[in-house]
C-alpha cells in the first residue's frame, strides 16, 4: 500500500467515528453494528467473487469454519486469545479453500453456485451428525481474552465491537486497494469475457483461485467475530439460508464500492430488527419487499444512489 487516497481516508475516518461511538451509543446498538459488520465481511467475500462473475451460495461454509474455529480452538486446543482464535479460523478457512478451490475454479455460473451450496451443506450435515459438538444446538464460547486481558459483561461486548470495526476497516482498505490494482480490474474483465483474458496471456482460473482464497479469508473473520459477539455457535452458520442472506445483502448493496456491503448489512440489520418489532408475524415479507424494491428501482444496489450523484457533479 503505497498511499491512501480519499476513499481510504473516508474508510479510516468512518472507522474512527464508529470506534468512538462505542462509548456513546447504547449497547444494543453497538451489538447490532457488531453483528452487521461481521456479516458484511462475509458479504465482502461474496462480492469479491461477484465482481468476477461468480455467485457463491455457499459462503456460509467459511463463515461456519471461522465460527467453529473460535469455539473448538477454545474447547479442544485451549486457545483463549481472541486474536489467536481469529487467526486459527483464518488459517483453517484458507487451508480448506486452497483445497476445494482447485475444484471450484473449474466451474462457472449456476454450476459454481450449486457446487458452493452443496459443499456448505456437507459441512452442515457433518456438524448436525456430530453429537459431541452439540449437533444442531451447537455450543457456547467461554472465557475469551484479548492479548491477555479478560473483560466482563458489557466491556467484553465493547471490546468485540472495537475489534470488529478495526478488522472491518483493515479488510475494507485491503479489498479497496486490490480492487483498484491489476488483479481487481482483471476480475471485471473475466466477468465480461473470460476467453479474451486468456488471449491476453493471463490465467483466469488462477486469478479466480486467488479471489476464492481472499473471499474465504474475510468470511472466516466474519464468522469468528460473530462467534465472539454472540458467544454461541451452531451448524445454522453453514445452512443455505444463511448463505442466501449474504447474497441478499450483496444484492442490496451492489458491487460498485467496497463500502456498499457494510452499508447494506447495517441497513439490513435495522430493517430486520424493526420489522420483527413492528410486524412480528410478517417480518419476512417486509424484508422481501425491500429486496424487491431495490431490484426494481436500483438494479445496481444501494450504492448507485451515491455514485450517480457523483457522476452528475463530475
Amino acid at each position: 500500500m503505497t498511499y491512501i487516497d480519499r476513499t481510504g481516508l473516508w474508510l479510516i475516518a468512518t472507522a474512527a467515528i464508529l470506534v468512538a461511538g462505542a462509548f456513546v451509543l447504547p449497547h444494543w446498538l453497538t451489538f447490532i453494528l457488531t453483528l452487521a459488520l461481521a456479516k458484511a465481511l462475509v458479504v465482502q467475500g461474496v462480492v469479491v467473487q461477484m465482481r468476477a462473475g461468480l455467485v457463491s451460495f455457499g459462503q456460509g461454509l467459511f463463515f461456519c469454519v471461522g465460527g467453529y474455529a473460535i469455539g473448538l480452538g477454545g474447547n479442544l486446543l485451549g486457545i483463549h486469545d481472541a486474536f489467536a482464535l481469529l487467526a486459527l479460523g483464518l488459517v483453517a478457512s484458507v487451508g480448506l479453500a486452497a483445497v476445494i478451490g482447485l475444484l471450484m475454479t473449474r466451474y462457472r455460473d449456476i454450476f459454481f453456485a450449486m457446487l458452493s451450496l452443496a459443499l456448505s451443506m456437507i459441512l452442515f450435515g457433518v456438524l448436525v451428525k456430530s453429537q459431541t459438538l452439540g449437533s444442531t444446538d451447537g455450543f457456547n464460547v467461554h472465557g475469551v481474552s484479548y492479548l491477555g486481558v479478560t473483560f466482563d459483561g458489557a466491556n467484553q461486548k465493547i471490546a468485540v465491537y472495537i475489534l470488529t470495526v478495526v478488522v472491518s476497516c483493515a479488510c475494507a482498505l485491503f479489498l479497496y486497494r486490490s480492487q483498484h490494482a491489476g488483479i481487481g480490474r482483471v476480475c471485471e474483465a473475466i466477468r465480461e469475457n473470460e476467453i479474451r483474458v486468456e488471449y491476453l496471456g493471463l490465467s483466469p482460473r488462477w486469478i479466480l483461485y486467488a479471489q476464492y482464497l481472499v473471499a474465504a479469508a474475510v468470511s472466516a473473520l466474519g464468522g469468528g467475530l460473530t462467534a465472539l459477539a454472540t458467544g454461541h455457535i451452531d451448524p445454522e452458520m453453514a445452512f443455505w439460508t444463511t448463505s442466501g442472506e449474504f447474497v441478499f445483502i450483496a444484492l442490496l448493496g451492489g458491487t460498485m464500492h467496497v463500502a456498499a456491503p457494510f452499508v447494506a448489512a447495517v441497513l439490513f440489520a435495522f430493517v430486520r430488527t424493526y420489522a420483527i418489532e413492528f410486524t412480528p408475524h410478517t417480518w419476512q415479507m417486509i424484508l422481501g419487499l425491500v429486496l424487491l424494491g431495490i431490484i426494481i428501482f436500483l438494479p445496481k444496489g444501494l450504492w448507485s444512489l451515491v455514485s450517480r450523484n457523483r457522476r452528475v457533479k463530475a
Partner: protein
C-alpha cells in the same frame, strides 16, 4: 421513467435517513410507564410455529388479556402482574440463535423489558442463557427441553425453566412401556436427525435398557427434519418386526409419520410411543389407530389435572381459538403464572409497583406456585428448574362423538423420573435411577 427515478432516489435517501434517525432516537421510549413490560419469544413462522409457536402465543395472549382484566380464577385474581397492566413485546423465534441473541439484547436494552418469557428451541435456550445472566434480565424458558441448560449454567441467577427437561419425557416413556408389560425384545426407533431426536433416543434407550436389561434394539432410523415422507423408514421398521416403536417426532413430521404408518399397518402389531404426540390429539380425527401411546412433555394439555385454573384455561381457550389447547399453550401459561407468582410474592403486598428485580429472583427460586397443570415446585437446579411429573396414555377415538380421549393414563411423579441436582440425566440412568421415588 426518468422522472420516476428523480422521485425515487431522494425518497429512498430520505427513508433510509429517517429509519436511521428513528433507530437511534427510539431507545428514549423507556419502560417506567406504569406497566409491566414482558418480552414474549416464540415461533411465529417456520416449521415449529404450527404445532408449538401458535398455540403458545394464543395461550399467552389469552392469559395476559385475562390477567389485565383481572378475570383469572384461583390465586391470580390480582390485575396484571402485581396490579400493573402487562405490556408485551412479541418476537419471532425463527431465524437461528445468533438472531435471537441480537433480539434478546434489543428486548433488554432497547425495550427495557422487566422479564422475558419464551424459547422453544434448545439451541436458542443455550445461547440465551449466558446473555440473560450477563444483562441481568429475569428470563423464563417455557418449553426447550435440553438437559444441557443447567449443566452448562451451573449457578443460574436470572434463568428459570418452568418446562421440563426432555430426559424426563424419555425416562417416563421407558417406565410406561415397562409398567404396561410390553415385550421389548425388539425396539425400533425413528427420530428426526438433529439434537432433539438424537438426545431423546439416547435417553430412552438408556432408560429402557436399564429397566429391562433384556431389551434389544431392532432398528434406528434417523430421517432428516421436515422430511415428510417416511416410506423407506416405515418399511425398515416393519421388516424389523418391533414390539415397541419409540419416536420423538413433533409437529407435521409426527402427524405425517402416524398417518403413513397407520396406512401401512405399522401400529397393528407394535406399540408406538410418541413423546410429543399429544399436540395432535385433536387433529388426528380417528386417522390414527387406537392404542397409540401419547405424551405431552409433562402434565399438560389433555393430561392436565382438573382444577379451577385448568378448567378455566381450557374453556377460555376453546372459546377463543375454537380448538382445545395443546401442551405448548399450557406450558406458556405456566411460565407466565410462575413469573406473576414470583413478582407478587416479591412485592409482599405493595401493589402497583414493579417489584425489585433481585427480590423477584429470590422469590422465584424454590417457589411453589399453582399452575394450569397443577402445583409446580421450582426445586431443581438450585431452585431454578420446575419439578413436575409426566404422564402417558393411549389414544382412543370415539367415532360417534368424534372426540379423542386418553385411556390407561399413567402418571409418574417428578421425583420418580427426574435426576437429582448435580447428576446429569445420562449418569443417573446409568447408575440405575438412585433415589427415585416412584410410589410403588
Amino acid at each position: 421513467m426518468k422522472r420516476l427515478k428523480h422521485i425515487v432516489r431522494p425518497m429512498a435517501v430520505a427513508t433510509i435517513a429517517a429509519a436511521a434517525i428513528t433507530a437511534v432516537a427510539s431507545p428514549s421510549v423507556a419502560a417506567e410507564n406504569g406497566k409491566f413490560r414482558l418480552g414474549v419469544v416464540t415461533f411465529l413462522s417456520g416449521g415449529a410455529a404450527g404445532p408449538f409457536g401458535v398455540p403458545s402465543i394464543n395461550g399467552a395472549k389469552l392469559l395476559i388479556n385475562a390477567l389485565n382484566e383481572g378475570k383469572v380464577p384461583g390465586p391470580y385474581g390480582q390485575k396484571g402482574i402485581n396490579g400493573l397492566e402487562i405490556e408485551t413485546v412479541v418476537i419471532d423465534e425463527n431465524g437461528g440463535a445468533t438472531k435471537q441473541v441480537e433480539e434478546f439484547r434489543n428486548l433488554a436494552e432497547r425495550h427495557k423489558v422487566d422479564a422475558v418469557v419464551g424459547y422453544i428451541s434448545s439451541g436458542d435456550c443455550l445461547a440465551i442463557s449466558p446473555v440473560a445472566e450477563e444483562l441481568k434480565v429475569p428470563t423464563v424458558m417455557f418449553d426447550c427441553g435440553t438437559s444441557r441448560l443447567f449443566e452448562e449454567n451451573k449457578t443460574p441467577r436470572y434463568v428459570f425453566r418452568t418446562g421440563l427437561d426432555a430426559a424426563i419425557d424419555n425416562i417416563g416413556a421407558a417406565r410406561y412401556v415397562v409398567d404396561t408389560n410390553r415385550k421389548t425384545s425388539a425396539v425400533a426407533s425413528i427420530q428426526q436427525n438433529y439434537a432433539w431426536g438424537q438426545d431423546s433416543w439416547a435417553d430412552f434407550r438408556a432408560a429402557l435398557t436399564q429397566l429391562k436389561p433384556e431389551t434389544k434394539i431392532a432398528t434406528e432410523q434417523f430421517p432428516k427434519l421436515f422430511q415428510g415422507q417416511y416410506g423407506a423408514e416405515i418399511s425398515a421398521i416393519a421388516v424389523s418386526k418391533p414390539d415397541v416403536i419409540h419416536t420423538s417426532f413433533w409437529g407435521g413430521d409426527m402427524e405425517a409419520f402416524v398417518l403413513q404408518g397407520a396406512a401401512r399397518g405399522l401400529f397393528d402389531k407394535s406399540a408406538a410411543i410418541l413423546t410429543c404426540g399429544e399436540s395432535a390429539l385433536d387433529r388426528l380425527k380417528g386417522q390414527a389407530p387406537n392404542g397409540l401411546i401419547l405424551g405431552a412433555r409433562g402434565p399438560f394439555g389433555a393430561f392436565a389435572p382438573k382444577n379451577e385454573l385448568s378448567e378455566w384455561f381450557h374453556k377460555s381457550y376453546v372459546a377463543q381459538v375454537e380448538m382445545a389447547p395443546s401442551y405448548p399453550a399450557y406450558k406458556m401459561a405456566q411460565a407466565i403464572l410462575g413469573l406473576k407468582a414470583a413478582a407478587e410474592k416479591a412485592a409482599a403486598g405493595k401493589t402497583g409497583i414493579v417489584p425489585e428485580k433481585e427480590k423477584v429472583l429470590d422469590a422465584f427460586t424454590n417457589l411453589t406456585f399453582e399452575s394450569v397443570s397443577g402445583t409446580v415446585a421450582m426445586s431443581r437446579a438450585n431452585g431454578h428448574q420446575a419439578l413436575q411429573g409426566i404422564s402417558y396414555g393411549e389414544y382412543r377415538y370415539d367415532a360417534k362423538t368424534k372426540q379423542a380421549s386418553l385411556a390407561n393414563v399413567k402418571s409418574y411423579a417428578g421425583d420418580c423420573v427426574t435426576p437429582p441436582d448435580g447428576t446429569t440425566a445420562a449418569e443417573w440412568i446409568k447408575a440405575g435411577f438412585p433415589g427415585a421415588k416412584c410410589g410403588n
